[in-house]
C-alpha cells in the first residue's frame, strides 16, 4: 500500500484493433502521481478465426475491416504478405499507386488526430476547466508563428481547438475530406479500399488526369501542413513550459517497420526485404535505450514475439514454422506460429487475465537476447528515420525537408516552408503529438515525390498496374507498413491453396499490449506509470485529464469510457470526450 490516498481510474472500452480501449490506473493523490496502470480491450470479433480456410487474396479485403480509421495500412501489409505467399512482384506503377493511396490516408488521419482527437484536450474549454492557471498565461503569451497561422496569442489557438466550434477544429474536418477523395481515386473508396490486389492494383484507364486530380487535392494538404505544424509547435512549446514533460513519458524504446515503398526497389520478395525496406521513404528500425540497433526489417520480423501474457486466450499451439525463408530461427511465439484461441475471462481482474489484447514484445535476438517493450507510432518512426540516415532528409538527429509554395484560397500561408523535426529528449505526450503534425508534413512531401515518380513512369510508358501470377499451393508471407498510430504487420501461412494460419497485429496491438510473462507492462501502461497529475482541484473532483492526454497522445482510434473510483467506491463514470470527430 502506498502512503498517500489511493484513487483508481478505469478507462473503458478498445477493440482488439481500433474500437474499445480500456485503461485502469491507480493514483497516489498526495504525491499526485500515477503508481500503476493496466491497458485492456473489452471487445472481441475473432478476425483471425474467420480468416482460416479462406483465400489469402480475401484477407486483403477482410483484415482492413478491423479498422475504419486506418484501413489502408492493413490492406497494404496484407497485400504485401499475400504478394509473398503467391510469389508475385507488382510493377513499379502498382507500387506507386498503392503508396499514393497510403499517403492520402495518412494525411487525413494526422489532421484528424492532432486537431480533432488530441487538440480538444488542450482547447480553451479543457484548459479553463482543468488547468486554469495555463489559461491566464496563454492569454499573455504571444504565438511565435502568428504570421503563418494568424493566431496572435496561445489562448487564441486554444479557442480554435474547441470541439465543433473552433476554427481549427472545423477546418480540419473540411480539409480531411480531401484525403478520402485522394484515396478513392486509386482505391475506389475509403474507408476500406478495394483496389489492392496481389500483384499490384486494380485500376483501369489510368491517365495523367488521375494523377492531376490527386495532385490538386494533395496541394491543399501541403498548404494546410504549414499551418498545422506551426500551430502545433506554438501550442506544445507553451504546454511544455508549463511543466508537462513527464506526462506520458517512457524510455526511448521504439520501433518502425517503415513506409512509402520505392516503386523501383520493391520486389515483395522476403529474401530481398532488407534492401527494399531500407529504401522506404520512412525507415524501418528499432531503437533501444535511445540507440539504433537495427534497420533490417528481416531482423525486426524474426524478433516479433506475441505472448498471450494476461490476454483472454489459450497459448496451446504447435511450433510449426521453425525458420523463415532465409533460414533464421523462428520462435514459437512468432505470429507465423501463434494461433488465436479465445478463452473469455472475468472482467476487471487486474491481478489475473484482463484483456483481449496480447503482449507483443521485440526479441533482440542479435543482441542482448531479451524481450523489449517497444512503442510504435509517428514519434517512433520519425525518430528511427532521423537517426538511420537512409534517406537524404535524415541528418542523424533530425529530419529536414521543404514544402513548395502554394497559393490556395482558404489557406493562410502561401510561401514555401522548410521543416526540421528534431529528436526530442524523451518520448512523452507532447512529443507524440508534435511528431504526428510533422509526419503529416513529411507525408505530404513524400507524396509530392511519389506523384512525380508516377508521372515519370507514365511518361516512360510503364503504366502497367498489375503482374499476372500462377497461384502456388503452399506459401508463407510477411507484410508490414506504418499506420498513423503504430504499425500493421501481417503474417500468412497458406496450405492447399487456402489460409492455414493468418495472424496480424494492428497499430494498437503493440502500444496497448498487456503485462507479459515477465510482468513487464506494455507501452500505454509504462507511459502512464509515474505520470504526474497536473489537474487542478481536489482529488475527489479529478476527471483524469492527464491520463486522457497521455493515452490520447498515442492516438487510440476510438472513444473510451472512463470510470473514476476512489478506493473501492466508484464515484464517477466518465466517457473520454472527443474521440473521433463527426
Amino acid at each position: 500500500m502506498m502512503k498517500g490516498k489511493e484513487r483508481e481510474i478505469t478507462i473503458e472500452p478498445i477493440t482488439r484493433i481500433e474500437g474499445h480501449l480500456g485503461v485502469h490506473v491507480k493514483i497516489d493523490t498526495e504525491a499526485r502521481r500515477i503508481t500503476d496502470a493496466y491497458a485492456y480491450s473489452p471487445m472481441f470479433r475473432g478476425f483471425e478465426i474467420i480468416l482460416r480456410g479462406r483465400e489469402p487474396f480475401d484477407a486483403v479485403m477482410i483484415t482492413q475491416r478491423s479498422c475504419g480509421v486506418c484501413p489502408v495500412p492493413h490492406a497494404l501489409a496484407s497485400v504485401t504478405a499475400v504478394d509473398q505467399v503467391y510469389g508475385v512482384s507488382p510493377p513499379p506503377m502498382g507500387v506507386a499507386l498503392r503508396d499514393l493511396v497510403h499517403g492520402a490516408e495518412q494525411l487525413y488521419d494526422a489532421e484528424v488526430g492532432v486537431l480533432n482527437l488530441e487538440g480538444p484536450d488542450y482547447s480553451e474549454i479543457a484548459v479553463k476547466k482543468f488547468n486554469p492557471e495555463w489559461w491566464e498565461e496563454a492569454q499573455k503569451t504571444k504565438a511565435p508563428g502568428s504570421d503563418v497561422h494568424g493566431f496572435a496569442a496561445i489562448a487564441d489557438i486554444m479557442t480554435a481547438l474547441n470541439p465543433l466550434a473552433g476554427e481549427l477544429y472545423l477546418r480540419s474536418l473540411l480539409v480531411q475530406k480531401a484525403g478520402h477523395n485522394m484515396a478513392s481515386i486509386f482505391g475506389a473508396k475509403h474507408p476500406h479500399v478495394h483496389s489492392f490486389v496481389p500483384g499490384g492494383i486494380a485500376k483501369i484507364n489510368l491517365s495523367a488526369s488521375d494523377v492531376e486530380s490527386y495532385l490538386t487535392l494533395l496541394m491543399r494538404h501541403v498548404a494546410f501542413a504549414k499551418e498545422l505544424v506551426t500551430v502545433t509547435d506554438d501550442l506544445l512549446d507553451f504546454v511544455l513550459e508549463q511543466g508537462y514533460e513527464d506526462v506520458g513519458a517512457r524510455a526511448a524504446n521504439l520501433g518502425s517497420v517503415g513506409a512509402y515503398n520505392d516503386p523501383a526497389a520493391y520486389s515483395a520478395k522476403y529474401e530481398e526485404m532488407t534492401d527494399w525496406a531500407r529504401k522506404r521513404l520512412v525507415s524501418p528500425g528499432v531503437i533501444l535505450d535511445g540507440g539504433l540497433v537495427t534497420t533490417d526489417l528481416v531482423e525486426f520480423n524474426v524478433g516479433v514475439r506475441e505472448f498471450i501474457g494476461r490476454g483472454w486466450y489459450s497459448s496451446e499451439w504447435e511450433h510449426e514454422v521453425e525458420a523463415d525463408p532465409l533460414g533464421n530461427k523462428i520462435m514459437k511465439e512468432h505470429p507465423w506460429n501463434k494461433r488465436t484461441i479465445p478463452k473469455p475471462g472475468e472482467y476487471g481482474k487486474w491481478e489475473s487475465l484482463y484483456s483481449w489484447v496480447t503482449a507483443t514484445r521485440w526479441w533482440h535476438w542479435k543482441g542482448d537476447g531479451k524481450n523489449h517493450v517497444i512503442e510504435l507510432g509517428p514519434l517512433a518512426r520519425m525518430w528511427v528515420t532521423a537517426k538511420a540516415g537512409l534517406v537524404p532528409e535524415s541528418t542523424g538527429n533530425s529530419l529536414k525537408f521543404e514544402l513548395p509554395a502554394a497559393l490556395i484560397p482558404g489557406f493562410k500561408y502561401a510561401g514555401a516552408m522548410e521543416f526540421e523535426w528534431k529528436i526530442p529528449e524523451k518520448p512523452n505526450a507532447v512529443e507524440r503529438i508534435r511528431a504526428r503534425a510533422y509526419y503529416h508534413a513529411y507525408s505530404a512531401y513524400c507524396m509530392l515525390n511519389l506523384v512525380m515518380a508516377g508521372l515519370e513512369l507514365l511518361k516512360a510508358g510503364k503504366a502497367d498496374v498489375w503482374t499476372p501470377y500462377e497461384k502456388p499451393k503452399e506459401g508463407i508471407g510477411f507484410g508490414a507498413i506504418e499506420a498513423m498510430r503504430g504499425a500493421c504487420s501481417h503474417w500468412c501461412v497458406m496450405k492447399n491453396g487456402v489460409i492455414h494460419n493468418y495472424q496480424y497485429q494492428a497499430p494498437t496491438t503493440w502500444n496497448a499490449s498487456c503485462r507479459d510473462p515477465e510482468e513487464k507492462p506494455g507501452p500505454y501502461e509504462e507511459a502512464l506509470i509515474q505520470t504526474p497529475i497536473t489537474e487542478a482541484g481536489e482529488s475527489e473532483g479529478w476527471k483524469g485529464i492527464d491520463v486522457v492526454r497521455a493515452i490520447r497522445s498515442f492516438d487510440p482510434c476510438l472513444g473510451c469510457a472512463v470510470h473514476v473510483h476512489i478506493g473501492k467506491q466508484i464515484v464517477k463514470h466518465e466517457l473520454l470526450p472527443f474521440a473521433v470527430p463527426l
Partner: protein
Amino acid sequence: MTLEEINLIWLEGQDCAGCTISIKQASNPTLIDVLTGAIPGLGGLKLAYHPTLMFEWGEDAAKILVDAIEGKYDPFVLILEGAIPEEAKAAPGVYCVIGEYEEKLLKLSDTIDGLSKKCAAAVAIGTCASYGGIPHGNPNPTGAKGLLDYLGKGWKGALGLPVICIPGCPPRPDNIVQVLGHAVLAARGIAPLPELDEWHRPTYLYGSTAHELCPICGFYSGGVDAHAFGETGCLGALGCKGIITNCNASTTWMDGYGGCTRTGVPCFGCADPSFPDTPTSPFFAKAPAGPFIKETMKGTWSHMMMGLARLHRRKI
C-alpha cells in the same frame, strides 16, 4: 408523438468505426449541415449519444442510455453501427461492453434490448449492423448478428416502421446521411415513407444492382471482358459480384471520385446480406452464372429489337 425535436442515439457494437468515418465525408448534405439544422425540415435533430462524438462524458454519458431506456429521451431514433455478439457464448467473460453504470456493465445486447422497446425507429448502418457482416463470417466465433435478425423482421418502432438497413462496408457517405435525413422528413410528413425491400433496404438507393448502375457496364453488353486487373472491360470474368449485389457504390464513392467498378475493382458484394460468405466469397471467384445467363438471354433478344428500332429515323 411530437417530432419537433428528435434525439439520435448512435451505438457502436462489434464495429470498426468505418461507418462513422464514412458519414463524416458526406457532402449532400454534410453532417455539420444536419446537426446545425441548416437544412429546412431537418432541424431539431440532437445527437444525444455517439460514443465518439458526444460532448458529455462522465456519469452523464452512461446515464443517457439508462434514461433513454426509461423513456426520458423520447422521441429518439436508435442507430447501430457494428454487429451484436451473443454474450452467452462469452461466459464468464464478455464480447462487447459499451460502458458501465453504477458498477453494472452495460453490455451491447442488453442496451439494445432496452432501447428497442422505446425507440421511434431503428436504423442499422453498415453490413455488420444490418446483417452481421464480417463478425458474422463463418464460423461466426462470437455468434454475431445484425439488428434485423436480432430484433426480427416483424419488429416495429413507435412510429410503426420496421428496422431500416443501410448496408455497405461502409455504405457510401451520402447514402447514410440521406437515409437518415429521409427518415426524419418522412416521420414529419414532409417526404413519402421510404419503400423498403425484403432486406429492409430503401429501394431508392438499393433497388438496382451494382451491375445495373455500373459506369462500365457497356463493356458487358458490348461483349468485352477484362482478363487482367487494369484491363478495361467488364470485370465479370475477374470475379465481379455486381450482378448479385444491390448497391450504388459502383457509380462513384464521393464528390465524383472513386466508385468500385468505375475504378476497375470487381464488386465483391460487401453490401450483400451474405457478405463475407458464399456466394460473395471467395471475393474474386466468379459470381454464379445464372444471373448472367438470364440477363444475356433477355439482352440478346432486346439488343436485336433495339438495333432494329434504330434503323428508323426518329420523328420529332
